[in-house]
Symmetry: C2
Subunit: 330 residues, 2 copies
């Protein structure tokens, strides 16, 4: 088991709140139209897929980044922000920073998909690469903040980020209501560090939340079962879900997940690939493996069904050759 570096901003952190999610939802509604909520029939039941892959940066991460950066003071904004991300949060932070005129530095794994690296740079952010297996991104962030200053915008261990991601649930609930349906009673969410899952838990207090992780990277699932935070055991475990490769969750996320009785499930590589193909054929959406994990759990019968079930399709940033390979591998 890997020793985790201390959270770069530990100690000074407020807890995320449902009120914060509501405030974030108002801010986000001003700048981003709702992403489509698409029905999909699975085994004769209708599930509701939230197409976050259609956000301007191709992932829900734009939500938390916008909420965080718009809450910086003028002084904080002037000092810039530092993000750590496998690629989608990177683009979210870079997008928000560009729009607000804030300097952004993002620490990204050197093996992140090419298009995520390119897109982050194209949005004007400075990208610092690290080795996902042998280096700690949090340690690099801490060092950067110490030497250069600025505000850390963590990919999931941050109250603003959690609140911002939770707006997905507020938006989906409003869309269900507009269709004459009730609030979601079960939400199946793709889970890396638990930012989205915790945000949804705050946003939709009456919904059962299922956090879906890829095989080998199911630390949140194991942590929730164990009642304490456990890290990923093998950081070299292969997965196509690069967006969900987080070494472990943080107490700020875990507290919310545990209090709400969230349960985790893990999906296999083949289950994820099948979900990518189903989203392609039946929804005409480009969903990256990490963004298809929740749908994979549903299709594999690992998330059951409920009356009004919401499923996140959380991102669509995938290299063309990789996507083509998944389409052909059947």
């Amino acid at each position: 088991m890997t020793e985790q570096s201390p959270h770069p901003a530990a100690g000074s952190m407020r807890a995320p709140t449902a009120g914060g999610v509501a405030r974030a939802a108002e801010k986000i509604a001003e700048i981003l139209p709702p992403t489509p909520l698409l029905p999909l029939e699975v085994d004769g039941r209708t599930i509701w897929c939230k197409a976050e892959c259609l956000q301007p940066v191709g992932a829900f991460k734009i939500r938390g980044a916008w909420h965080r950066l718009t809450d910086l003071s003028a002084e904080e904004a002037a000092a810039g922000v530092v993000g750590v991300s496998s690629g989608n949060h990177a683009q979210g932070v870079a997008w928000a920073a560009k729009r607000l005129g804030i300097a952004a530095t993002i620490i990204m794994p050197s093996n992140a998909p090419r298009m995520k690296l390119d897109a982050t740079r194209a949005l004007g952010a400075e990208v610092i690469l690290y080795d996902r297996v042998n280096e700690s991104r949090d340690a690099i962030a801490a060092e950067l903040l110490r030497t250069r200053g600025g505000t850390l915008v963590h990919a999931y261990g941050d109250p603003w980020i959690i609140e911002g991601q939770g707006t997905t649930g507020i938006e989906a609930s409003a869309q269900l209501a507009a269709r004459g349906l009730g609030s979601p009673d079960r939400i199946v969410a793709c889970c890396g560090g638990g930012g989205l899952s915790a945000g949804l838990a705050l946003a939709c207090p009456d919904a059962e939340i299922i956090a879906v992780e890829p095989e080998g990277w199911d630390d949140v699932t194991r942590s929730l079962e164990a009642g304490r935070i456990l890290a990923v055991e093998d950081l070299a475990y292969p997965t196509e879900c690069d967006a969900l490769q987080t070494p472990q969750t943080w107490p700020i996320n875990f507290a919310v997940l545990q209090a709400r009785g969230v349960r985790g499930v893990a999906v296999t590589r083949e289950e994820v690939r099948h979900a990518v193909r189903v989203a392609f054929e039946r929804l005409h959406l480009v969903v990256e493996p990490g963004g298809a994990a929740a749908l994979a759990a549903v299709l594999a019968g690992k998330a059951g069904f409920s009356d009004t079930m919401l499923v996140t399709l959380s991102g669509g940033n995938i290299d063309p050759a990789h996507f083509a390979e998944i389409l052909q591998a059947r």
Copy 2:
């Protein structure tokens, strides 16, 4: 030049009207949520992409079919409908027929994409295959109507179909208004037989309409230039845009296009493939070649730019192997 069979319903046809488009828009808003209108930056300008590939059947064709079938009398509905289609209209008619409990027979080319054939059958329609090069689908339809009865639901040469497709423009205009923008001043539309283009011309009387066809199948472009209807010269001309392979437009479409001064442009195979890849990478949408023709024209500089430019991404039904091949061929 191929001799065209007479339109199976010629002689008895009313003209489509702007009022009909407005009425269709009301009916469609009751059953289908608006498809997303996604901004895309091209050469520093923002264009607005109407993601009709996200309709339940993966194409805008659901609009006209719904408008037509909901206007049938009880007696007409009981006798069933006959459609002719390369695959997207087929699914639109089958979807509407299933929902309304109407029997549907669809005449489709034997070389239509597998997924279009499968999806049409899965929606409960009877499919009759024909040879696209050596047989006339309109003649087959006429014979079927003579022997079995029923109502023809033509893929484009039908006032209801034209009005229904035009609702795309009504919906997009409302979405632009919600973003504080004016009505579209230029609309670039994928064009097969001219149902969508004619509908948009009626829906948006102040917009310049550009109808985009694939190379070799640019009969509408040539007809508009010549001032009279010309047919496709080589029905065996290869194209990936199966959705736009129509032998010629009908007077009911041509009259609208000509009166509005619509102009046509043709796009090459490579321009279309590039557009499919751009939609994949930057919009995270699965767009079939025929649905990417309008975007191809914009990206190739063949449609210019305007202040508020609307571009249709009209369909997303493509076999996975074909899509993979396009992604890899660069």
